[in-house]
Symmetry: D2
């Protein structure tokens, strides 16, 4: 996890930002980019009642949405310029209710590959300045080349 | 999967509906209830650009959001009246891009238990009247009893 | 799950049997083939103390071993003649202790693909003639073509 | 992962060793204990043809067997003296074929709990003195109290 990854595309930051900005759901959840580094992306968003489950916590699916984007873009940052990225599968363990004012999702590449990249992510809830691990994800991302309608 | 489950609470339908209506994110995604039966819940929602990833498909996290609610309420339908439900973990396999006009998520109880219930769900994309399996979920739901701030 | 799959290789049965016979661990666990059909493989084995965990049940990893082989060969049965199969990832939910005289694992293809095949499997414990669902698996299998040392 | 966990039972080492020695499958796979620390267990075993899949690599189910035991005992090390441990579910990503002379599985507690403990594990293949990450696991372990036939 402390690997230093070399991006194959020096323009990886701009590529991640352009794709992120096309995700309608990121605007819905008011998600912003905190960090983009080779093989690591951190995203954050504030609490909002339109993102909650029945007890007022952030819905596990929204936790997943932001973890999946963080992990997907961590993988995408290492992919060649002409690749698109799709999620193949992921698994989320919910460690504590996502209760707080603000939430951070950190996605990291565990093992890059030309087609298949294995990623992991952590989701933190921040309340009264204290950060608590709320969820963890492991997943598989796939690079897609030259499929119509799927780029970036 | 063809088990006939007996709900322990005859008011399970009203209990599911009341909890569903408290999930802010269900309104954000414009999700409605199609079916509530003992151990089975079906939800549906229309396509909207505020729910998309970068290629215009429904974001995998939104697919998860609706699958998780369908599965969680399938489990909740069999729980006692005084239980609340929380997701412990789930795993999603994405079989095809979620592209369509409308989407259905069907959650089913695979094995009920007093504390731990194992669930599974299928997610379908409907385009031009044709239904396509887009994602599948397996997960663990937990019944919570008497924890402050967590009911329903 | 009730799909009728068409094998691309009419010799799929012989191909599965030949590969199964090369798995040293199948002999260790005394596993035999019950059924091979296009997209479905059933395996079985008897209880033995060399396969147990600390309470005398079959170890979850041995449950996984037989489920993974059943699912892998279900995928392999639909692959072209020149493909090899490898597991990419899987997830197991343990529903009940695997306690019994005999155990059956049924693997099925959920969605076939040229490279990626999504599979699911169920594991049954048989005690005093009664069959009980003990575990369930969802996984991803990959077809490999032309990689040195990896065939079948 | 760098948490310092305090074991509730000072005799945790002896308790782990006693339970490990009752797992028949550990002898079958010739697994030995490398390290027991609060919330961390490392196991190791040599290559043997009775543990292989069709290409001569260690079968993914055996990889899982040893990862599951390492993770289960990592969880068990933090449990009270009267608890037994069972696996609820786990997910394995296979990053590279498990090819080598010797294999190490390291299980760690990610989040302990009275009933539910979330664990993660890494599996390494060692060939010609070089260590390669071959698989990674995330799972849920459950503490069981006072159930007949299930102790340790």
């Amino acid at each position: 996890m402390s690997d230093d990854f070399q991006p194959s595309d020096p323009g990886y930051r701009e590529r991640v930002i352009a794709s992120f900005n096309r995700q309608g759901v990121m605007e819905t959840a008011n998600v912003s980019i905190v960090t983009i580094a080779p093989g690591l992306v951190e995203l954050a968003f504030p609490h909002h009642s339109r993102l909650t489950q029945q007890h007022g916590f952030i819905h596990a699916g929204i936790v997943t949405t932001v973890l999946d984007s963080a992990c997907g873009y961590a993988a995408f940052s290492l992919m060649p310029e002409d690749a698109a990225v799709l999620s193949v599968e992921f698994k989320i363990n919910l460690l504590a209710p996502s209760n707080g004012e603000r939430f951070h999702a950190i996605g990291r590449v565990r093992k890059p590959g030309r087609t298949i990249t294995v990623v992991e992510g952590d989701f933190y809830s921040i309340m009264n300045g204290e950060r608590k691990l709320s969820a963890t994800m492991v997943g598989t991302m796939m690079a897609i080349y030259g499929r119509k309608g799927i780029d970036g």
